[in-house]
């Protein structure tokens, strides 16, 4: 296989770079070791905030890209029809000493070009903005340009658009080596074969240091910092209208309470440094910490424990350099890092993508703009969730599958599930991320068996081979009777 550019990693950063590069006449291939877009932890388990850009010290790479990324997302999210809501954010000082922190953040924000920042001290105004906010709040930094999105939907939308514009994807493909000759990249080796290529973009998230080490002694290391979350039922109501932050700590923006684009409430993450990049377990103490942090900001949260739908955790890719690593390798031509992009990585992605284009050109890549780039993506139609339900009638007439509701908690129809499969979902989580089937209060209890059946029929594979998220995560362990009978083990397709 040959390519013009290989991007390692199909998370939000890799997908965004892919979409940007798909504007040029160059052959882009994305390789991803997981089974689908956004299956890696930093994108999948992400607060989904598009930050205004006041957190980052001016002069850092993060600061360089955050507020520019924020501005770019407004347009891009609309083009690819991904969820995006500018709800604004509040960093809340619960103690007088914390007000100084707010002032520092405002100073940074002003220096980084963040618009419309305001420190609100009027308690009445805070109360009107956030009726459930801790009445002991002393002041809050209001940032109107903060927005929320669904991080995996955004990454999927970007990659779909990239693929529409010619990008190729290789999933379950792990990079094992990079061929270098005369100090230039010549190719990459993967678990599925070699790709002849001269330009490699390292967007490998948690594993970016391992990929970078393939071209020479490492300039950075990535260590995982775990963050745990809770999601509350939509019925819990409007506990927060903005993204509500506490005053930040040296290592983390803190435990947040935020609405999601779907109307749920998301709470988290805490911050715990760990060693194992594969440790994806929530913990009793971590979850307790998250809950306590949330109740500090929103005291009425304490009565809503029975509204919790689920909990999960993610791992931030923390660079030891304490800043994003965006740049060409100093020693090897053609190797470009977009690494260590923990918060505000999602926000910064489109700005970093533009920078990557510059870096490629500087490295000798010939990038000619395509005349036929189509920036628009048509989203999967979700007829039962239209504000005007009745308008779905014509769609159902065209395709009756859109009239058959499969996921009753989130009102997801058969039409959407089939469309998700056609758009690349090969796992239960892939269908879930594209349609929300299984994300409601019954957590797939009702729709799970139906989705398995639909996938089996549509993909023409036995249901027993379907996985939750690829490889060994099979949902079913065979057909009934196999454990009893001697022969007939046609379900044993390990």
């Amino acid at each position: 296989m040959k390519a013009g550019v290989v991007i390692v990693g199909a998370g939000i950063v890799g997908s965004t770079i892919a979409r940007e590069l798909s504007k040029y006449e160059t052959d882009v291939v994305v390789v991803e070791k997981e089974t689908d877009v956004a299956f890696g932890s930093p994108t999948k388990a992400n607060t989904g905030v598009i930050h205004p850009g006041f957190d980052d010290p001016p002069g850092t790479v993060r600061a360089e890209h955050c507020s520019r990324g924020n501005a770019l997302w407004h347009n891009i999210a609309r083009e690819v029809a991904a969820p995006f809501e500018e709800v604004g954010s509040l960093v809340v000082a619960l103690k007088d000493e914390e007000v100084e922190v707010l002032k520092e953040l405002k100073r940074r924000g002003d220096a980084n070009g963040v618009p419309d920042l305001e420190i609100v001290v009027d308690n009445g105004k805070l109360r009107r903005m956030e009726p459930h906010l801790n009445t002991g709040a002393v002041a809050a930094l209001l940032a109107p340009t903060a927005a929320i999105t669904s991080p995996y939907e955004l990454a999927i939308a970007m990659m779909e658009n990239a693929v529409r514009n010619g990008v190729r994807t290789c999933f379950e493909t792990e990079v094992t080596g990079i061929t270098v000759k005369q100090d230039r990249v010549r190719g990459i080796q993967t678990t599925r074969g070699e790709i002849e290529v001269q330009f490699v973009i390292n967007a490998a998230g948690l594993w970016a240091d391992r990929v970078s080490a393939m071209v020479g002694p490492n300039q950075f290391t990535i260590h995982p910092r775990k963050g745990e979350y809770y999601i509350l039922d939509k019925k819990a109501g409007d506990l927060a209208r903005h993204v509500i932050f506490p005053a930040p700590s040296p290592i983390s923006k803190g435990i947040v309470v935020t609405p999601t684009v779907e109307g749920n409430t998301l709470v988290g993450p805490n911050a715990q440094d760990i060693d194992d990049k594969r440790d994806m377990a929530t913990t009793h103490s971590g979850l307790a910490e998250v809950w306590a942090g949330a109740c500090k900001l929103i005291p009425s949260m304490a009565d809503k424990k029975n509204m919790i739908i689920t909990n999960f955790c993610g791992l931030r890719p923390e660079p030891d350099t304490k800043d994003f690593i965006v740049g060409s390798s100093q020693t090897i031509r053609g190797f470009i890092n977009a690494a260590g992009m923990r918060s505000p990585g999602l926000t910064a992605a489109p700005s970093v993508a533009l920078k990557v284009v510059d870096l490629l050109t500087e490295s000798g890549a010939e990038l000619r703009r395509k005349s036929a780039f189509d920036p628009r993506r048509k989203p999967i139609d979700k007829p039962m969730r239209r504000p005007d339900l009745m308008s779905a009638q014509s769609l159902i007439k065209q395709d009756p599958n859109y009239g058959y509701v499969v996921c009753r908690c989130e009102h997801v129809t058969k039409g959407e599930i089939l469309e998700a499969i056609r758009r690349g979902a090969t796992t239960l989580d892939g269908v879930k991320f594209r349609t929300r089937a299984g994300m409601g209060r019954c957590q797939g209890g009702f729709c799970g068996p139906h989705v398995l059946k639909l996938m089996s029929e549509e993909l023409a594979i036995p249901a027993q081979s379907i996985t939750k998220r690829g490889r060994g995560s099979r949902v079913l362990l065979g057909r009934a009777k196999e454990l009893l009978s001697g022969g007939d083990s046609n379900g044993r397709d390990d």
Binding site: L287, I308, I396, Y404
Partner: protein
């Protein structure tokens, strides 16, 4: 959009809904329509392939599919209409329903009366907050039952069951009979949640250990479940540090609670009882919205389908009378409140001027007790939280209730019952 008018619309074609539809027809309603989201009628019963159904109603010992087939046949014979693969999406208090299916698309139904029979859903791992990884292989018991006994799959081969309620016990037996290894049933309380008969016939018969005073503290497995951590709990149900041990398994089955489905009820502004999770109903099974009735597990989670059938019959009869404009308002509305030792009572409102049967659940197991409501006393033997207690307010007892707007129904433990 297509519009239909019906006399009685029943949301849910399981045991409760079918009984309601049948009774509505028998009580004179002309057009009775049942909506169900599945491709076949019966609700949960087609997947309950074990016996124990119909001991009261038919005086026979039937399996779930056998029990429900009788109602399906009768409903068909009476001319009840059905729409399957149909989801009821909206309910207005004016008894207007919006529903959808592939055939009709989105359609509106104006009904003279509505019976809500949506059943219940299962509590999830997420709601329980069990920490750990998120591997494949975690199922609620009902979902595992569907996958096995309707779809014909083995959801797992080496199983741990969390929760010793009847559904969990029944699935323990199903897994064992199909050749899987059930490592243990884990129960947080000091006693089993389900009936003693099921503890014996589902666990003891198969040598499956029942770990009382235990809970699952974590789930392991990067892709598929590889094990669970279990620990002893104290009197408050909190894990005791240092008692954790890992049980290797590939499947965790959750049987940790059932929740009445009431999205539609809430949408219509129907008042719910926070303890049952279902609508407040009177003895006619009418909700707080006139002309909307409810029955079965949507009202409260039953343990006997025979009782579900009874509530369905009451609701269906009432809905038909309402549709025919012949349902007289109740003479009084006496609100029954759960007193000491009683978790909840259904129906919550009785008229006090005619015999009525109420169902209640006790908070803790009791050997001998007196149920007291006002100056009425009814003895009860061996009551458990898992088994609803039936209290008949007979002619004589009902006379003793006079004019109170609220009546507490409580329990007093006594030494002996004569």
């Amino acid at each position: 959009m297509a519009e239909m008018t019906e006399d009685v619309v029943v949301v849910g074609g399981g045991a409760a809904g079918l009984a309601a539809a049948i009774r509505a027809k028998e009580a004179g309603a002309k057009r009775v329509l049942v909506l169900d989201r599945n491709s076949e009628l019966g609700g949960i019963l087609p997947q309950c392939i074990h016996t124990g159904f119909g001991l009261h109603h038919f005086k026979e010992n039937l399996t779930g599919p056998e029990y429900v087939s009788r109602f399906v046949d009768r409903a068909r014979a009476l001319g009840v209409e059905f729409k399957l693969d149909t989801m009821a999406l909206r309910l207005k208090p004016e008894r207007e329903i919006v529903a959808a299916n592939s055939l009709d698309g989105l359609f509106r139904i104006r009904a003279k009366s509505v019976v809500l029979a949506m059943g219940c859903r299962e509590r999830t791992r997420g709601a329980l907050g069990i920490p750990g990884e998120r591997p494949a292989g975690i199922f609620t018991a009902g979902t595992a039952q569907r996958l096995m006994d309707v779809e014909g799959f083995m959801p797992g081969r080496r199983v741990v069951i969390l929760g010793s309620g009847d559904v969990g016990l029944i699935m323990a037996r199903r897994f064992a009979v199909e050749g899987a290894k059930v490592e243990a049933a884990i129960e947080v309380l000091p006693y089993a949640g389900g009936l003693p008969r099921n503890v014996i016939q589902c666990l003891e018969d198969f040598g499956i250990p029942l770990l009382l005073n235990h809970t699952v503290t974590a789930v392991y497995g990067a892709e598929r479940v590889s094990g669970v951590s279990v620990a002893n709990v104290d009197e408050k149900g909190s894990p005791i540090s240092g008692t954790e041990r890992t049980i290797p398994c590939d499947t965790l089955i959750l049987s940790v609670g059932l929740i009445p489905e009431n999205e539609l009820s809430e949408e219509a502004g129907i008042i719910l009882d926070p303890t049952t999770g279902g609508p407040v109903v009177d003895q006619r099974m009418e909700t707080s919205v006139g002309g909307i009735f409810a029955c079965g597990n949507a009202v409260h989670v039953h343990d006997l389908v025979d009782h579900v059938t009874e509530t369905g019959m009451t609701a269906g009869w009432s809905a038909a009378r309402f549709a025919l404009d012949e349902l007289e308002p109740l003479k009084n509305r006496i609100r029954l409140r759960p007193g000491p030792g009683v978790r909840y009572v259904v129906p919550q409102i009785i008229s006090g001027d005619e015999p009525v049967t109420v169902y209640l659940r006790v908070r803790n197991p009791v050997r001998n007790a007196m149920i007291r409501a006002g100056n009425i006393a009814v003895p009860v033997r061996a009551a458990r939280p898992a088994e609803t207690v039936t209290v008949d307010f007979t002619e004589k007892r009902v006379e003793e209730l006079s004019g109170e707007a609220e009546l507490e129904i409580g329990l007093e433990e006594i030494e002996h019952i004569d």
